[in-house]
Amino acid sequence: MRRQETAVANACLAGVIAAVFGCVSMTVQAQDLKKYDSSTKDFWLKPPPDWFLGDENKEQKGQAPNPGQPTPTPRAELDKILAGIKLPPGFKIAVWADSVPQARQMAWGDKGTLFVGTFDKGTVHSVSGPDGQKVVKPFITGLRMPTGVAFQDGALYVVDIDKLYRYDNPEANLDKAPEGKVVYDDFPPYVPHGWKYLVPDGKGWFYIPVGVPCNICLPPASTGHYRRVDPKTGAAEIVALGVRNSVGGAVDPRTGQLWFTDNGRDWISDDMPSDEVNRVSKIGEHFGYPYCHQGDFADPKYGSERQCSEFTPPVYKQGPHIAGLGMKFYTGDMFPPEYKNGIFIAQHGSWNRAKKLGYRVLFLSVDPDGKNPKEQVFAGTWLDDQKILGRPADVLQAPDGSLLVADDQAGAIYRISYQK
């Protein structure tokens, strides 16, 4: 059934191994800076109770991931919110589809259907119909956290926590999804940071992030990386290490290299460390987690074990806790030429800092080798002082060169277009 949880639960309940990290010992240590030896098998059979949460100081107490909103923002309110969103001259933003609950990664079908993942709603929605009359339907239901979607060779691919599914010929069956075929299931079972993103590599494989199941830990070796998966054969290889929680990436059209966003650790301070944009220039490159964050900041727990100079620094520091998620290179012709081959990033917005940061779409122009990053706040912010009005979670170029933005809080998809 829920193979993953039951397996963990059984392993823990069986209690074959003595509870080295039991409740009592943890309580005694709770005041000190925690340091776990997670390199042993025992740790993963019976992890300490506070290994995922915790590390907060008094001032940070009560900070928790944003609750989001259970139901989508009604259309009239969305229009009002968008009227307050600032864009560069010539650009405008409008609601493209409303009532798309928890809109996460988006993918275009061959025939113009947009497929949209969700966070913990377990649903993939289809959005179809002419502009202004978009029809949103639950297409696939009953998954756990199908955040990542992609369309390739006439099939829809959906990545859940521990499985990659293929749905053949979906656009001919929008009323009832065809049976999903599991094409890859060699993922670890962990739910925390287990939600994923699909990056087609352009050669038929997908780059897929596998997040660490903790805030800061020496993670299980089955996590903390990007892998490249062939959906035809189930073959896979590791392409990047030292990755904490990436939920966005894209292949640079100029070089074919993988770039990805990565969310830095929590509970150090409001301003440290920065979330990253990374470029993978060779297979197996290590991006620092858990030893070194943002390329130059040694972790208070693990930093002494390694040097920051051993790892690949980020191309660009996005800012602390800002949570850049979905990203895409812009290859269209609608926007002015300076946007060509630059990166749009959906910055979901912070929770682990006093003052909110992000809640916007960022544009990053950067050389193919990662040099000369130049940022521009492109669309935002979805904040009214500290009140959250929306949270960009993904961006996707439309066939006409406009840019779609998925908002998983308001449950909506916006279209940003340009006219001279």
């Binding site: 309580t27 992890p47 915790g54 989001g68 925390p192």
Partner: protein, 196 residues
């Protein structure tokens, strides 16, 4: 057990739809649909039905999420299957606001006395209060635990532990519950139920 409970609840639901049931209507701002909830969740959202949670004083967003997840099938709706299917987003927003506006339940009268130090030893390292707050009144997507029925808290924790309970918070809740023994669950359930 489940069957008998279902029968009781369904019977009560049917009864609740008849005006001659003998109970006075809840306050005027109660949405009409809340009448459907009374039989199992109590007149003012304080449940007297085993395994059926009190809703009074639950954070608005928490209640909304649970209804959305049950409507989507992410949470098993059990006897509520027929009801949640008919709920509109507007119904859900109204129900969330309504139950959040009701006074929270008093400490559960039949909660067994619990050694607070033991409860703290279990809950402290798991950082329960970081999301559920020091007084366990809940916030945002996180449920109110204080005064909740212990039978329901036991069911919830076991469902999180086994992965049956899906939806918001399942990652964090599974991680903190996976190492709980049955006895721990009973102990903290009664501890929380006895909280004002």
């Amino acid at each position: 057990m489940l069957t008998s409970r279902s029968v009781v609840c369904i019977a009560a639901l049917l009864a609740a739809s008849a005006p001659a049931h003998g109970q006075s209507a809840p306050s005027a701002k109660a949405p009409a649909i809340a009448q459907t909830c009374v039989a199992c969740h109590g007149l003012k959202g304080v449940s007297t039905t085993k395994d059926s949670p009190s809703l009074a004083g639950q954070p608005d967003i928490f209640t909304q999420y649970q209804l959305v997840f049950m409507r989507d099938g992410q949470r098993q709706p059990g006897v509520m299957a027929g009801i949640v299917k008919t709920l509109t987003d507007q119904n859900i927003r109204e129900l969330g606001a309504y139950y959040a506006s009701l006074p929270p339940p008093p400490p559960f009268a039949k909660a067994e006395p619990v050694d607070a130090a033991k409860a703290d030893a279990i809950m402290g390292p798991r950082r329960c209060s970081n999301c559920h707050k020091e007084d366990f009144s809940g916030q945002g997507e996180t449920g109110r635990l204080a005064g909740q029925r212990p039978d329901y808290l036991i069911k919830s924790l076991k469902d999180f532990r086994s992965g049956v309970r899906r939806g918001r918070g399942m990652g964090a809740m599974m991680e903190v519950s996976v190492t709980l023994e049955d006895d721990d669950i009973v102990l903290i359930a009664h501890y929380l139920a006895g909280k004002p």
